[in-house]
């Protein structure tokens, strides 16, 4: 029977189900987790002996740059990133290449080898959504979805200025459906539009050119309509002033904006039977906190500003965030924040690509190397870990490298090792610039994350935050049969031997997707079916009609016709709409 499997005697970490290292069996039938398999089903089922191993739900990455125009811009401009990092084809796999920006096949395989089964693309420019979907469709091994970039959208900015939140909500509902995307991404609100004139914004109350809306207007407006519509995930914010010394303050202040907006996810799906309430209560999801937590006033007095943000997050309940860790080495920075990348060009003189997208958004790409002997880079390394270690409740944080901005996702095992092992951190302090110790608080932090906490920050909370825990990030009955089995015996684990942690997380003993073993000890053994999720919000026909009248009027500023604007379902692998009945 396909997708039917029994995983016996493993130490299971399923935080959403409040299972913390219990020795137990996991059963999957037809791709879904079940309580047990009948004797006759057991006869046909594959059985895996997980004795002495760690069993977790399949990894979920809620913020990664893996598909779309800017990622491909990175691939195209970086042959030097690819020519020594490649994989040959096998009878079942395609070949590929690319270290920080792998080609799609390679990217899918690499995630799968680490035990990941679900990855969400962090930024989809609406007009280029077809491209993002083409790449996601071609990415093997992973269920996927993408967040629509809306923080500098002309139509929304106009509605916000008019104070017309209802029409703005109708527009967003239409856009998510039109481009088959999952949630709202807000990048450098109001600033990217200014970049259309070579400018930026510097303060939350600074109105941008022409549209005359402020970052605060946009964050507040998006957060409000997000909950009006009942979108599964909170507004996903890339805050203003990213990458500038001292930016931590504007980040903290941005997080204050939606404090009083109540989360109202309204996902109309069958929920896996988790013990914990799987619904999010946060109204904002801050991304790559590290890049938005710079302290000091210049590069000379640069320091970590993480604590200013984590203190606020610890005191509040409406915020969740991912870290944006910096594991040193080669990276490619890529973001919807065009002016931020221009600043990096001015700083480094490197290769720099930029694409402004008409009426919508923009992006920038630049190759980057994080060096241990560079003072700022070494502080950034410490900061990424501070973000995760200073947040007391692991349910408020998610581990990412903002791949490939802080470093490629294949470095996740290394980051996990730093989180779990103080010795790993101390050994790295020995190798890197002393600013890492002097300008951050990490050296004094002795917290070592448990496997349960690792399971939270690498799958359970990523899934819960984005509203996917009805099927992902848990092994509760009814969940997707996505499992990662690692060669770690929790009873015998010595975290000071962090190399063994890295090895175990690099190549899962088994990665199981929908009840099928797809990768085993670093080798891809099967290519599963995959799904693409998007949010399908039903709003009233009248609201949609009124809104579309405006949209049609303004469509003359595009260079593509209204009829040719949408993203057809053919660009999605197994399109899977998440239905929502909006209360607008």
């Amino acid at each position: 029977m396909s997708g039917t499997i029994a995983i016996k005697n493993g130490y299971v970490f399923d935080p959403l189900n409040e299972i913390n290292g219990d020795k137990m069996d996991i059963f999957i039938r037809n791709g879904k987790v079940v309580t047990e398999l009948s004797a006759s089903e057991m006869k046909d089922a594959k059985e895996i002996d997980a004795t002495g191993k760690t069993v977790m739900p399949g990894g979920v990455d809620s913020h990664s740059h893996v598909a779309g125009a800017k990622v491909n811009g990175g691939r195209m401009m970086r042959p030097e990133d690819h020519y020594k990092f490649y994989q040959k084809k096998t009878p079942i796999t395609h070949s590929g290449c690319g270290y920080t920006v792998p080609s799609v096949y390679l990217g899918g395989y690499e995630y799968s080898k680490m035990g990941y089964t679900t990855v969400f693309e962090a930024a989809v420019p609406p007009m280029e959504a077809r491209h993002t979907h083409e790449e996601m469709r071609s990415t093997p091994m992973l269920d996927m979805g993408g967040y629509l970039v809306l923080g500098n959208n002309w139509f929304l900015m106009r509605y916000f200025k008019e104070g017309n939140i209802e029409k703005a909500a109708a527009y967003v509902a239409w856009m998510l459906k039109t481009h088959k995307t999952y949630g709202i991404k807000c990048v450098n609100p109001a600033g990217v539009e200014n970049w259309g004139w070579g400018e930026n914004v510097g303060a939350l109350d600074q109105a941008n050119i022409h549209f005359e809306v402020t970052p605060e207007d946009i964050i507040n407006g998006l957060a409000e309509l997000n909950e009006m519509l009942g979108i599964p995930m909170p507004v996903h914010l890339h805050a203003n002033n990213l990458g500038h010394p001292g930016c931590w303050e504007i980040t903290r202040d941005s997080l204050k904006i939606p404090k009083n907006i109540r989360a109202r996810p309204n996902t109309n799906v069958e929920w896996a039977e988790t013990k914990m309430n799987p619904l999010r209560h946060e109204s904002i999801y801050l991304t790559h906190c590290q890049f938005n937590a710079f302290g000091g006033t210049s590069w000379r007095d640069f320091e970590s500003g993480v604590k200013g943000i984590t203190d606020y997050v610890n005191a509040q309940d409406h915020i969740v965030m991912d870290s944006g860790c910096v594991p040193f080495g080669e990276a490619t920075v890529m973001t919807g924040d065009g002016p931020a990348i221009h600043d990096l060009y001015v700083l480094t003189g490197h290769k720099w690509s930029n694409t402004d997208v008409e009426c919508e958004c923009g992006s920038g790409v630049l190759p980057f190397t994080y060096l241990k002997n560079n003072p700022v880079h070494s502080v950034q390394w410490a900061m990424g870990l501070e973000v995760l270690l200073y947040v007391k409740d692991a349910w408020k944080s998610i581990m990412t490298t903002d791949s490939p901005n802080g470093g490629p996702f294949i470095k996740y095992p290394q980051v996990i090792a730093w989180l779990m092992s103080n010795k790993a951190r101390q050994d790295t302090f020995e190798e890197c610039h002393k600013w890492a110790q002097d300008r951050s608080g990490l050296a004094a932090e002795t917290r070592e994350m448990t496997l349960n906490e690792i399971a939270i920050v690498t799958r359970a909370n990523a899934a819960r935050t984005i509203g996917m825990s009805h099927c992902k990030g848990t092994l509760a009955v009814g969940a997707d049969g996505d499992v990662a089995i690692y060669d770690i015996d929790p009873k015998a684990l010595e975290v000071s031997d962090y190399e063994s942690i890295i090895r175990a997380f690099e190549n899962a003993a088994y990665t199981i997707k929908d009840g099928q073993v797809v990768s085993q000890k670093g080798e891809i053994v099967a290519i599963p079916e995959k799904k693409t999720y998007y949010t399908d919000i039903a709003i009233s026909a009248d609201d949609e009609k009124n809104m579309l009248e405006d949209v049609r009027n303004w469509f003359k500023y595009y260079t593509i016709g209204f009829n040719n604007y949408p993203t057809p379902e053919k660009y999605l692998a197994n399109p899977t709409p998440i239905r929502i009945d909006a209360e607008v």
Partner: protein, 269 residues
């Protein structure tokens, strides 16, 4: 010292990729074992013995192993790629990527080489007695980091992109070059004894270029600082009077490169 002789005998209708031909791979192997090493022709691999008559065993160590290729191998690529020690002598011409990424040892090519000889070379000596084509000692596509050490000597001419992205080592061209000699270099030394057509030192941010002949079209972002005579870089001597320029000021905030241009051959500069 042991000499392994390879005499071309095979069918080279499609080019052959033979990165396996290095003293590192031949050391400690008998002639027969060497003949069983694999080379690529199209998507398939075949024994070296299909293409070469192999005579002589490798020495015990790489250092003591010499490879002599006795004939024309202009359709064989990647000879000596990545070698760390020992010696390769080619009594003919080679295909692309000869001595690419070599770390040490010595390659002497009596004929010509195709493009990409000594790409991203780190050490050792690559001596081409004939001519070579493009991208000598340069960086791979998209990289700004080319040759970092070692020396390349070309007795004849090179064509385009000599030493692209170079940051260390020396390239000495006995003949002439065409376009973009020293493009984007940030260190190291390039000496061209003959003429250069155009764009010498374009986008350079460091390092030194000497042109003994005539530059037909000068790169606009260079400014003359001085005149010097009989300049010397360790064992490399350049006699005569040179105009000393700095640049390339087309690249912002830099201009730390130095270019010496023969005064007598470039009066109008």
């Amino acid at each position: 010292m042991a000499v392994v002789t390879l005499k071309p005998t095979g069918n080279f209708d499609l080019t052959v990729e033979a990165e396996v031909i290095t003293p590192d791979n031949f050391a400690g192997k008998s002639a027969q074992e060497i003949g069983q090493l694999l080379v690529w022709q199209g998507p398939k691999q075949y024994p070296l013995a299909n293409y070469f008559e192999v005579k002589g065993d490798g020495a015990d160590t790489t250092e003591e192993t010499t490879i002599t290729i006795d004939g024309d191998v202009s359709r064989v690529k990647r000879i000596g790629e990545g070698m760390t020690a020992g010696k390769v002598l080619v009594k003919g011409s080679t295909g692309m990527h000869a001595g690419a990424e070599m770390v040490g040892g010595e390659i002497i090519i009596e004929g010509d080489t195709d493009s990409w000889a000594g790409m991203e070379m780190k050490g050792g000596l690559l001596h081409i007695k004939g001519n070579t084509k493009d991208h000598l000692g340069s960086a791979y596509r998209g990289s700004w980091h080319g040759m970092t050490g070692g020396r390349i000597v070309v007795d004849g001419d090179a064509v385009n992109q000599v030493g692209g992205g170079m940051s260390g080592g020396e390239i000495v061209i006995g003949g002439s070059v065409k376009h973009f000699c020293g493009i984007r270099i940030n260190g190291g030394l390039i000496v061209v004894k003959g003429d250069a057509f155009r764009t010498v030192g374009a986008e350079m941010t460091g390092g030194t270029i000497v042109v003994g002949g005539t530059i037909e079209r000068f790169t606009p972002g260079f400014i003359q600082e001085d005149t010097e005579s009989d300049i010397k870089f360790d064992d490399i001597e350049c006699t005569g009077e040179y105009k000393k320029f700095t640049g390339d000021y087309a690249i912002p905030q830099k201009g730390k490169g130095t270019m010496y241009v023969s005064s007598v051959n470039n009066e109008c500069l």
